[in-house]
Amino acid sequence: MFAAASSLTTTTISSKSSLGGYRGKEVVQKSRSSMMRSTARRNNVNVVVRAEAQKTIDMNESRTYYFCIANADFMLNDENNEHFPEILRERRRFYRETEKLQDFWIVPNPTFLDAMPEIKKKIRQPCVAVMTTDEVWNTFIKLRMDRVYKGSVEGTGAELLKSNELIAADAFPPVDPAKWTAPYNKYSPGWWEVFYPGADWTQGYQATVNPLAEEGVERTGA
């Protein structure tokens, strides 16, 4: 346990906008827990953290969504691709710090792909897409991941971010200790769920850039 308490004691962000409603172009996403409230006792100080649910871009506005898509195992389970959750978490932290609206998601088995049989044929199933309205960032994801198919599709977030089926946390076989040679454990399966559309990525989020903050929460996806 590190010096988390000091950075948390004063972090009381109260909700100012009406949850679930419009505020200009900003839409507050409805999610399982639109308000996170946690109370913890550290160093004999009662800490109350209230974080507003992450705001997204307007899901009803029609625009271009860019995606990189590949086999689910490659995207979510490959040992060599564990930098992928790292950059997603880093970006989430950055969006929080700069108060940017969420414009990227992990979408397993996207329904829009059904209308693109030629592309779907190329992708081993089940598959996972990273979707965003940020074309430049999508190009970066292609550069980083390489073995992914890059494309774009027009429509609203409400239509395009739908999945035929999610990827369960236990979808991949457990790590065989005899074959696992890394000097650390794999990121907890299911780390991707917080990036699903509709999930609240403020859950478990530590509003601090201090790496000495509480272990495990923001940084491991555990």
């Binding site: 898509i69 564990e82 980083r144 073995r147 000097p183 790496p211």
Partner: protein, 421 residues
Amino acid sequence: MASSVLSMSLSASLAGKSKVFSSKTNKSISSNRKVSKITTTVRATGTMVDDKTGIKKMRDGIKEAADENLLTPRFYTTDFDEMEQLFSTEINPNLDESEIFSILNEFRDDFNQKHFVRNDEFKAAADGIQGEQRRIFIEFLERSCTAEFSGFLLYKELGRRLKKTAPTVAEIFTLMSRDEARHAGFLNKAMSDFNLALDLGFLTKNRQYTFFKPKFIMYATYLSEKIGYWRYISIYRHLQANPDDQLYPIFKYFENWCQDENRHGDFFSAILKARPEFLNDTEAKLWSRFFCLSVYVTMYLNDHSRSEFYESLGMDTTKFNMHVIHQTNKTTATIFPQVIDTYNPAFKAGLDGMLAANQKMAAISKSDDSDIAKALAKAPLLATFAAELVKLMIMKPVDSGSVDTNLEDHHMDVNDPAFMY
């Protein structure tokens, strides 16, 4: 660049085309250099030795830089005119800059702007590290700092020189030098916790610079950034799971830190993809393997010559190194046209053969024999070392590359699990 930029040193001495030269500034101050050396020698025999570790100091609180050898981190320079030719948008109007621009955007976001902030834990932790452990800690910090600073100097100069002709690439180099300066500064502050900072201005003027042609800079820096990522993330994640081994708080910063390294590597991927002539012929394949091998071998020898350091963090040096090598090699396979088959048992056997020869040579160097006797004793070991290296170089390689540039070359099948979409 992370600590493993030092890996390039071996390449520098083995790549036939590279040469070591002193820049003009070096020449103009070479006389000063002699003077300072003499002064240091005099001082070293006097009081300017750190009382806790016996490390030589240039002056109070400033460590004398370690001697340069085959395996120490180096400073690099390149052919700036050729770099300009390669990435000038005037000369190459059809240069595909979309991926280059995408990585520039990541650098502009500057995810780690507020990351490198120290706290009170550092000094206290440094005071708690004593004896032999203190010496190897300082050595680790110095090597890391020198490597990061080396990246800073090279990138900064490239940013300056390419500004007019290749503005996108130049801005990226400048932003990468920003990251390297942060990293080097953070490490140097850490050294001052041990009362032994480096005089980076002095280093800039006095160290020898190794010349690499642009394409070698691209291969070598790509690898050193990516291996740097894998080293730092592995140490970070190991210590996260084993907080009792966290001797000094700097490692807690490694997760965000190494994302910078990883992005720097992505940039070299992007420029290599923009100039596919560096990726698609036999010569490119040969150099790809050569740089992979020299970077892996250098890390293996370096880390094993200071195993105590990794052991003090609760790590097994060999396991840690092999993990980093396998992962770096897989990552590199997404861009280089050929990589090493690191899972071939002959690869590990070759590394261990070189390690044994290197350790024997180090023991001879330390002995009291005459220089001639030492050279004679080392000759057969050097031959063994070279033979092992050649064996690995001609070992059956793995064809690889980006799906964007090498898919057709290698008749890669997207249904092949090794090549999945």
